[in-house]
Amino acid sequence: MWRPPPLLAALAAATLVAAADPVPVTITTDSSGPSTRVVLMVEKGARCKVVQETARVQVECDNPIAPTPRSGALDDTILTRFALEGDRTIVFATGPGFRRLDTFELRNPTRLVIDAQGERGAAPARAAAPAKAQPVVVIDPGHGGVETGAVGPTGVQEKDVTLDLARRLKALLERRGLTAVLTRDEDRVLPLDDRTSVANHNRAVLFLSIHLNASKRKDAAGAETYFLSTGATDAEARTLAALENKAYDPGGASSEAKAAAPPDRGLELVLWDLAQNSYLAESSRLAESVQAELNALAGARDRGVRQAPFRVLMGATMPAILVEAGFISNPEEEARLKDAAYKDKVAEAIAAAVASFAARS
């Protein structure tokens, strides 16, 4: 039986005393997707819930909060502005395009996500018909911010190339009549769970994460496409995962980590794993067709379709693949990945496969 060491108990007591201070809440908004998304990162010490009222959406917390920013305006017809009211409620004003609300909570750190669904633009009726006809594809540029990913021999960073490729791919897909949403459209850190969340909450027909590979083998080269390995979603492993988080105590330094872990993490894992499990056959088909297009690219060496327990694919509720577009550690491939014409060819190859897959789904 694990008992908190005296130091941790003392820390816990100190936290309780400090709870009188307003709890920091960081608010970020994103109007770039079909829905307007608000993420509230709530520090320890407050629990908040979302309440929908007439012409407003309220986030009500059980303790005083200190939001950053305290108020703001969204250039948006779904949600228009927000402000702190009193010391524990944030009010969001809904616009003419607002239709309904989806909310969910992410843990570690605690984030309350509000997806306000509705119609964009000044004339809400205009968007209604074509919006339904256009399938949404979510493209995830790997890494970002301080998480640079792999770095090439001349210093090219994976996070920059993946974003560049993702933007090119988005433009090509939109030319083909698809709606493409990027999980990040700037150089910033984005947690892996948030990446699939973007796809899940946009009801995307597919999720595609773009990465570049690296190896200490300097001659390693070529492109490959991954989908989730079946071993990773093994039923026994899932059951274990639920037990693991309750039963095992590695001792020493990890006691702290254990104390910080949410108690229902095992259940969370089970649910997420089941999600991608039912799409493995389709993910495999998508991976095969993307890889076939990449193989047709002059100069790209075929490394085939592979499976691995990629963390970022785990929670996707649609076909999901990860494309390793080339080895940035290989001097020749790094040079190619600096070339705009080559990047267009890679994006075009992926776009062709994605568009035909989306058309059939």
Partner: protein, 192 residues
Amino acid sequence: MTSRGASALLLVALVACGRTDRRAQPAPAADPVAGAAPAEGETAAPLAKSTVTLYFPSAAGDTLTTESREILDTIRPAERGTQVLAELLEGPREKGALAAVPEGTTLRRLWVREDGTAFADFSDELASGLPGGSSDEILAIYAIVDSLTANVPEIQRVGILVAGRERDTLGGHVDLRRPLRPDMALAQKKAE
């Protein structure tokens, strides 16, 4: 307990101390295997050797290639696994293989639970020393998982910890939130 059995245990304890710096840590009270003394009949001769197969990343392509090593024929799965990982961390001896883990990586501790799950706790270098690509990350992880499961019958899956902590991933790719089963497909491709 016979004196032979006692000296075998002492030897095992010394090996474990030398490999993992266990002296710096408190005794694992909850370790179910720690208290299990070998039964009379199973007691091996103190210096008996056992041949194990290690999995290293191949220098020719991104698959795993095998090398053999002799270890002491210890009985307890945690001791056997500790020896296997010590050999793996020392690196390959043949030209066709590459180091499985980043330079400087050490094993802090290995537990083996009765349900077949091992937890291997490595120093920070395992994560911080990776170059950032999924390829090396996958190979490092499965060199560890495959080497342990192939040579210690009691181990069916391996949880990887870094500096005593659970991690989501080593470098943003492979999910480490729960123990992994071996991926022998990485080793089988060698034949192609």
